[in-house]
Amino acid sequence: MNAPLNSDLDEQERALLAMDVAWVQWRSAFRQKLVAGGDRPVRSIFEADMIFAIVAHHALKGRPVTLKELATYFGSIATEATVSRHIDDMVTNGLVERRLDANDRRRMFLIPTRRLEGIGHEFEQARLRIMREHGFVWNGGNKAG
């Protein structure tokens, strides 16, 4: 099983793979910590992480995402029912709040809580560190497309 390797994956691609390995290990430890803190274990954690990111990103842009819009992101990945169950868990854990649009009661906004902000800092700082350690360095957004 230790045969010489014959793959044309370049160094940058390999660095990204190594980053994922480090990330899974960090994420595993982080989950243990949250569960130890009393959080209910969450299903499909990597999917949940993406939902948190989308909810936070939209709120930070000044207009919270709706449940329907969120489900659209996951079109080919998860059903609306699955996304909705994720939101149930997040509300139970005090990380997201549902709020009906006062102007259109069919629209449900998803709002991040202070608690999500606190957890979000640690989560993003760990990711940024792991990215940096694998050579992906922040340039201050100078070349942001």
């Binding site: 793979l17 980053m19 480090a22 990597f46 990103h57 608690r115």
Partner: protein, 178 residues
């Protein structure tokens, strides 16, 4: 965990109020926001990519938990590239906090059926099963990794050729979890 992580304890998280707040008070900084931006772009790309893979007809049922599966592919590929193919048992260890060993096995069934990996029994120890990437996984892997690299770059994260102090080698991520 590195010393520069913004560490929060379980107690602080438990004590942090589950209430919404004003955008003006938010302390998430520009770099953290950029990381969120990567995720948003990534989910959109990943949903499209999933359609491409489904259209290729390599698996005749929907793929389960794609983000989880992606991490499994990365670990299998990384370990193989590091010259030490990972075993089924080692892979399950990485995920033991997230999913059961049966779930890992079902993922591997899908991966094998779709021709992304091959399971190979260790001739010296028949209880050990190595997970080997295929050429098909490599082809898909290029598309996947290049898209992620592009999205990081578009959000301001630029590859420095692995020159960062305490780089990947210092971590030895190929090391199996204890």
């Amino acid at each position: 965990m590195g010393d520069d992580d913004n560490k929060v304890t379980s107690e602080e998280i438990g004590a942090s109020p589950a209430v919404t707040f004003n955008l003006d008070d938010c302390t998430i900084d520009a770099q953290e926001r950029a990381a969120l931006g990567i995720d948003v772009a990534y989910v959109q790309w990943r949903a499209d990519f999933r359609r491409t893979v489904i259209a290729a007809n390599v698996l005749n049922r929907p793929w389960r938990s794609v983000f989880e599966a992606d991490m499994m592919f990365s670990i299998v590929a990384h370990r193989w590239l590091a010259g030490r193919a990972i075993t089924h048992k080692e892979l399950a260890t990485y995920f033991e906090i997230f999913v059961t060993e049966a779930t890992v096995s079902r993922h591997l069934d899908d991966m094998e059926e779709s021709g992304m990996i091959v399971r190979q029994t260790d001739p010296d120890d028949r209880r050990r099963i190595f997970l080997l990437p295929t050429r098909r996984l490599e082809t898909i892997g290029h598309g996947y990794l290049q898209a992620r690299i592009r999205m990081m770059r578009e959000h301001g994260f630029v590859w420095n050729g692995g020159e960062a102090a305490g780089g990947a080698k210092a971590i030895d991520p190929a090391r199996a979890p204890e």
